[in-house]
Amino acid sequence: MEYFQFKLIQWILLPFLLLLMGIFFQKLRRQPRMRILVMGIMLAGVFFLLFPDSSTLIAQELGIGRGVDLIIYLSLLGLTVSCVLLYLRTLHLQEQLTAVVQRQAVQEARDQRSVEKNT
């Protein structure tokens, strides 16, 4: 039962994580795969927050040593994947913007062929 004697940091972070989970669960309702990924990451966060020693056990199994190192590596990996996903999302938005600007440009093209050739 000693696991559930909450420390101050757990009191601060746990509600914060649960709130984020609630927000993303709602926001990602149209992206089921992304919702599963984000929920998985956040559940892992909740797990490590509730059972901090478990990260050390897993780290030692993986030959890393300290649990905190495992968390840092996983965070870096997660951050990198997030950056790439965000960039791809930006590319998608860019493509949509490009299509709109191109369509507008063609529709509003100025046909000056009636102008006498000033050559």
């Binding site: 790439v84 960039y87 791809l88 590319l91 998608h92 860019q94 493509e95 913007l97 490009t98 600007v101 191109q102 507008q104 440009a105 063609v106 509003e108 093209a109 100025r110 046909d111 000056q112 062929r113 009636s114 102008v115 006498e116 050739k117 000033n118 050559t119």
Partner: protein, 246 residues
């Protein structure tokens, strides 16, 4: 050796010079090129070509300096990049039912008198798209600044990696294509990586292609606008991210 327009017309027996020129649209993407674009357009009009200028969100006087010229002027509300400007120009050419299209830089580095060289395989129906190359003749190869030459060599390998085509030149903006290629090639890359995308499109649609020796006129102005090694890195990252997105 470069032939002039009249000499070229004699070599192309089945094709009347005036006839193909009036059915050929020259697409000029232009971003803040007000200083030079007018003279380039005037030369093309004088030679009998139809011209589409795509103003890629310029903040200078590009629109104003072209206002009294007989051309089609298309303006992007935002600066999107050369690839996007070319695609807009090509869409305009599709609507204008162009038979041939030429990609031509606004900074005056493409010699007008080499257009017939570029067009010849198309007019003979031996190719669907012709790509200008600076490395097919000793004369034009020598004119390429050494730093640009190395960048382009790297670009050739990038093209090979992404498309499987080993071309002699990597990012030459001087190209010509027929109606078939115009209607099949769609450029989605906004920036300079469109040159590699064109090769991918050629491969995807199994278009007949040909490289044609062309000379590029390097001026301090055009060199300041050319592809740098930083642009090269951007091109590679764009292509990789686009692959990931697929």
């Amino acid at each position: 050796m470069c032939l002039n327009l009249n000499q070229k017309a004699l070599i192309l027996p089945a094709v009347n010079e005036q006839e193909w020129q009036t059915r050929t649209w020259v697409i000029i993407p232009s971003y803040n090129e007000a200083r030079v674009v007018r003279s380039v357009v005037v030369e093309l009009l004088h030679a009998g070509y139809q011209v589409i200028v795509v103003d890629d969100g310029s903040t200078d006087d590009t629109g104003r300096v072209l206002k009294d010229l007989s051309l089609v002027y298309v303006a992007h509300a935002l600066n999107l990049g050369q690839g996007a400007a070319l695609e807009t120009g090509m869409e305009m050419a599709r609507r204008l039912e162009a038979d041939y299209v030429i990609h031509f830089d606004a900074d005056g580095q493409h010699p007008l008198e080499q257009i017939p060289d570029l067009m010849e395989p198309l007019l003979r129906d031996e190719a669907d798209i012709c790509l200008g190359s600076r490395f097919l003749s000793q004369e034009s190869r020598g004119a390429v600044p050494w730093r640009r030459r190395w960048t382009l060599q790297v670009g050739r390998w990038v093209n090979y990696l992404f498309t499987g085509y080993r071309m002699s030149d990597a990012h030459n903006g001087f190209r010509a294509m027929n109606r078939k290629a115009l209607h099949r090639i769609r450029l989605r890359q906004r920036g300079r990586s469109h040159a590699t995308e064109i090769l991918s499109e050629i491969k995807r649609h199994q278009l007949r292609w040909r490289e044609v020796a062309v000379q590029i006129v390097y001026t301090p102005y055009s060199q300041s606008k050319g592809t740098s090694w930083q642009d090269g890195l951007e091109i590679v990252s764009d292509l990789m991210l686009r692959r990931m997105k697929k």
